[in-house]
Each structure stands twice: as structure tokens, then as C-alpha cells.
Symmetry: C2
């Protein structure tokens, strides 16, 4: 059996387009596995109320558990035996590791040497093998992963350019819509007209677009890493330049979106926006004060955009709070950053 | 109309005993008002899993919204016009203020001069009048409140010695039981056999006892303020000594429980426990790391007891995380307190 024959089924399947039906199927699997994360009303200084989806409260502290679970549960018995490979700065890593442990599948995660310590430790604690690559030195993580896939015949679970992963992340949108429609004095009274999403490679944004066909989807990226914003502006996939500035939003630090994501984003997102480091810190502090939630920088990007007024909040606006995996020392500095 | 006649209906009603039926009635009101807060599984370093009720995610950042809502919605039209008086270091204050604003009832809150700034600011932001008393100087808050009640004919909503408040806080237990019984791979699979409760005056502990008649209820207090623990040990209500040490657990800083609470606690709680300042900080840090939740010191007391091994975790143990209202500077210090 050649390496190519081992890889081909997965490679072929990965070419399929993600669908709304796939999101619904993933939604049923997630509903059987995990309770919905809370959707918390938040009054902004402007007086507007937005609806915050607290995905930082997932067992791994991030929404990535959704796509990983949908992908891994669809692997056949032979694929499960050969294991899975993930590539991630930490949240997708933990999502894949969590799902793999629960399903008894061997998992190897390719992580950057400069990932937050808490993410490295948590991924290892979930039983995954961690293979480090030199992100600051410019080593290509996809090449490292491809080598492992070839060597082991394992299935690559890409962090965003994978139809299952996109569908799985879209289940955030299913829950948001159900929670906003639900009765109750403290609820929104209708489905979201806009969802503001923290955006790295565009897996979540594409999934939300499939889940909520009537809502405007606004991807938010950190300044200097706003390739999706530029791609939407120019109509073609743009890469983050090699000399991009450092960012605290490690979870959103992706070099470029991929055609499988961009095909959906181009059709559904009128624009993307970028947020500054100070805007991200302000959002982390606002979530601390008002929601008593710990958000990592990348998990606060969408909130940063609505707080800064970069994205409007008319209609019924939902905001994804995508992750809370941040080192204590880094978070203490953020708390000190505003008087 | 004399002051006494204005006060008497409330005074008489306040003598009724809280009941399980009252908890159920309060539960229906709360279910119509607010979605249940999440019940999050948490693995302890011992390997045991406990079920954490994240009441810090309530709109006011604490469970106190429950008892206040149950009390205020049961006031008649005349009582509503004359307003309500609360006495609180902050969380009950915000609960009463939140419910009063929503119902259009004037609210006055008696708060200590040394309450956390965030609690004073939030209570005022909710539209309540704040009357300060000198807690460090030994001024009696109940006397201040009694004077306001006499002057205004308002209804006193006591923070814990009130049958409505006890019943309302008990709705935490209804939600815990429903969530632990619910199906799903990540759930507990049965109602709680033990609920560990942060305890000040004993309102929550008494309410939980009424809500969950088959569960062991364990009240947890800060060291030096463990009058309920001592009262259970001696069988009679004990007061905190005048020279009690300072505690970061401002929410649990009550001088003594009351007969309306102790009658239930004595019948249902085999024992209470005390936690040290270091154990409380460790619990705040553990909740930060593993749950990505911001807990105030008093809100972390129950978790501190299970982490320290002071309360067992066999069976199905639920832990209340009662509040998250903590100043950023104070929380940053807690984060720095462990490596």
C-alpha cells in the first residue's frame, strides 16, 4: 500500500463543499454531546445591547471542539486506527485532542514553539503528541504536517480549510439563532440579523454563513493580519505579508484563507474589519467587568470591533467570544492596561 | 397612618417559613425571566469531577438576582409605590436594584463605605439610591435600614433572613438538579448528592436545602467569619466576634445567621467548613485556568473547599460559583499570587 493510496480518500473528501445540511447534521451531533454555551446580553457604552456567545466556556475553552468532533466522528474505522494530525497554535489543537481522546483515536498536533504555555500544556494533558515547529523562524507548518501525514497515513484535520470543520464551527450559529428566538424577558426576540465573528482562516465565518443564511456575517481580524478583510476588498485571496507585526491574537494568526472558505465568504460577507491591540485589550477588560468572563485576545476580537464602533449594532447583533485560553501573567497585564 | 401600620404587613409576612413549594413557585418565575446559568464539569487535581454552577454569569454577576426577583414580584401595588430597602455589600444590592428597575419600584440600598468600587458603581448604575454606612467603624447596618424603613414606609428586603429571598436563592438548586439529570455524554447522569455552597448569612444554603431534599448541603465560609460552621457545631446561633480578621470575601462577611435560616440549616446540614485566604485565591486561579471564569473571593469559597479537600467529592457533587464582581486590580493580584 503506497502512501498516496492511504492519503487519497481523505484528500478527495476534503474537496467537497461544506453545506447547510452538513451544519445541521453537525448540530445534532453537538447537541447530543454538549449543552449550548450561554448567550449573554451585553449593554455597550453606546446603550445598544448585543448578544455574546460565550464559546470560551466550552470544555477546551474554545469553539474549536465543534469542528473537530464533527470531523472525527465521520472517520471510518481504518481512518480512526491511523490517527489524526492537527495544525494549530492551540485551540484547534485542544479541540482535536479532546475529540480524539473521547473516541480513542491517536492524535498528533503540530504547534508553534511560541504558542501560549497554557495551550501547549493543555494539549499534552489531553493525551495528544505535540510536534513543535519554528513559527518565529518561518518554518512552514503545513509542510511539517504533510510530512507526518505521509509518514503515518494519518488524516489531516485542517484548522479551517476542511468541510467538516467549517460545518462543525457553523453549529455556533445554530445555537445563537435558537437562543435568540427563545421566549423570555431577557432574550432578543428574534434570530440574529448580524453575527460578528473572530476570524483567523475563516472557518467559523464560513460556517456561520451556512448556518444563518439571512444574517450578515462580519469577520474581524487583528491589525496587520487582516488578510480576509483585504481578500474581500479585492475579491481575491491575499496573504499576510512576511513582515506582519506581532499580535497577541495568536488564535487568529493565519497566513491566508483558502478557496474552500473564501468561496463562501466572498458570496456572503460584504466586508471585514481589523481591530487594534488597544481595542482588543479594551474588549478583554469590558468582558471581565460586565460578563465576568476571561477572554484570550483572539477571542475578544469581535467584541473589540463592536465596542470600537467599527461594526454597527443596529438590528439584532450577535458577537462570538471564541476562546479563553490565556496565560495568567498575560491577562494580569491586560487588566493593568486600563487604569 | 402610623409608621407601624405601614411596616406591619411586611413584618408579619416576613415571619412565615420558606417552603419547597415557594422554591418551586420562584423557579417558575425565574425560568420565565432568565435562561439557566451553565453547569460546567470541572476535573479536580484529584481526578474527581465536580459540577460548577456559574451564577457569576447572571446579569448582575451573582445569584442574588433570584431572591430579589421573587420578593419584589410578590409585592402588592401599594408596597411597590413605597419602594424597597436593601442592605448589602454589593451583590444583593445589585439584585434588588436590577429587579426594582425592571418593575419600576424605587430602591434604596444601604452599603458599607468599604464595599468594592465595582459593586457601588454598578448598584448606582442600576438606578438605586445608595446610602453608605461605616462598616469598618462598626456602624450597625440593620439600624440604618430600620430607620429608612420607618421614615419611608418602604419594604425591607433582607439579604438572607427573608422567606422570599431564601426561596428565590433555592432556584439555583432546581436548575442544578435539572441540568445534572439531563441526558448527554458530558452530563452527570443524576441529581446532586451533595451541594457545596458559598455561605454568608445562609440564604442560599437554606434555599438549596428546600430545593434538593435528598442532597447533602455543605455551607462554606471564610476563616474567622465561620459563624454558621460554629452554629452547626454548637446547635445554637453564634455571632462572628468583633475582632474577626479582615477577609477578601466581602460577600460572605455577615455577623450572624438568623433563626429563619438556621432552623433549616440545623435540620439539614451535618457540618459547615471554613476556607483560608490562600485556598480562596487558589480557587480563583483554578477557575480562571480551567473554566475561564472570573470569580470574586466570596464566589470562589465553595470551590476552594473542594479543591482543598475539606469537603469530599464522592457521589455527584455540585459546587456553587456565586459571584464574579471583583475589581480588576484585586483580581490581577490574585493571578500573580501563584507563580
Amino acid at each position: 500500500m503506497t502512501v498516496e493510496s492511504l492519503r487519497s480518500p481523505t484528500a478527495a473528501q476534503a474537496q467537497r463543499a461544506p453545506t447547510s445540511e452538513g451544519v445541521a447534521r453537525a448540530g445534532a451531533k453537538i447537541a447530543a454531546l454538549l449543552p449550548p454555551t450561554p448567550l449573554l446580553p451585553l449593554e455597550l457604552p453606546s446603550g445598544a445591547t448585543v448578544w455574546c456567545k460565550a464559546e470560551s466556556l466550552q470544555p477546551i475553552g474554545a469553539f474549536k471542539i465543534r469542528g473537530a468532533w464533527h470531523r472525527l466522528t465521520d472517520l471510518d474505522e481504518n481512518e480512526r486506527k491511523r490517527g489524526v494530525i492537527g495544525v494549530s497554535s492551540g485551540n484547534h489543537a485542544q479541540g482535536v485532542a479532546w475529540a480524539a481522546r473521547r473516541l480513542g483515536i491517536p492524535a498528533t498536533i503540530v504547534m508553534p514553539t511560541d504558542a501560549p504555555q497554557v495551550k501547549l500544556a493543555n494539549t499534552r494533558a489531553l493525551g495528544a503528541e505535540v510536534v513543535l515547529y519554528d513559527r518565529p523562524g518561518g518554518e512552514d507548518r503545513d509542510e511539517v504536517a504533510a510530512r507526518l501525514v505521509a509518514e503515518r497515513g494519518a488524516t489531516l484535520v485542517h484548522a479551517y480549510a476542511d468541510p467538516w470543520v467549517i460545518e462543525g464551527q457553523g453549529t455556533v450559529g445554530i445555537e445563537i439563532a435558537a437562543q435568540m428566538i427563545a421566549d423570555g424577558l431577557a432574550r432578543a426576540g428574534g434570530p440574529p440579523t448580524r453575527i460578528v465573528a473572530c476570524c483567523g482562516g475563516g472557518g467559523l465565518s464560513a460556517g456561520l454563513a451556512l448556518a444563518c443564511p439571512d444574517a450578515e456575517i462580519v469577520p474581524v481580524e487583528p491589525e496587520g493580519w487582516d488578510d480576509v478583510r483585504l481578500s474581500l476588498e479585492t475579491g481575491e485571496i491575499q496573504r499576510v505579508p512576511a513582515d506582519a507585526p506581532p499580535t497577541a491574537c495568536d488564535a487568529l494568526q493565519t497566513p491566508a484563507t483558502r478557496p474552500i472558505n473564501f468561496a463562501i465568504l466572498k458570496a456572503r460577507c460584504a466586508y471585514g474589519v481589523a481591530v487594534s491591540p488597544a481595542e482588543v485589550r479594551a474588549a478583554q477588560n469590558y468582558a471581565f467587568d460586565r460578563l465576568h468572563l476571561v477572554l484570550e485576545p483572539g477571542g475578544a476580537a469581535a467584541l473589540a470591533a463592536v465596542l470600537a464602533g467599527t461594526v454597527p449594532t443596529d438590528g439584532r447583533t450577535a458577537v462570538t467570544l471564541t476562546g479563553g485560553n490565556v496565560d495568567a501573567a498575560a491577562f494580569a497585564k491586560v487588566l493593568a492596561s486600563t487604569g
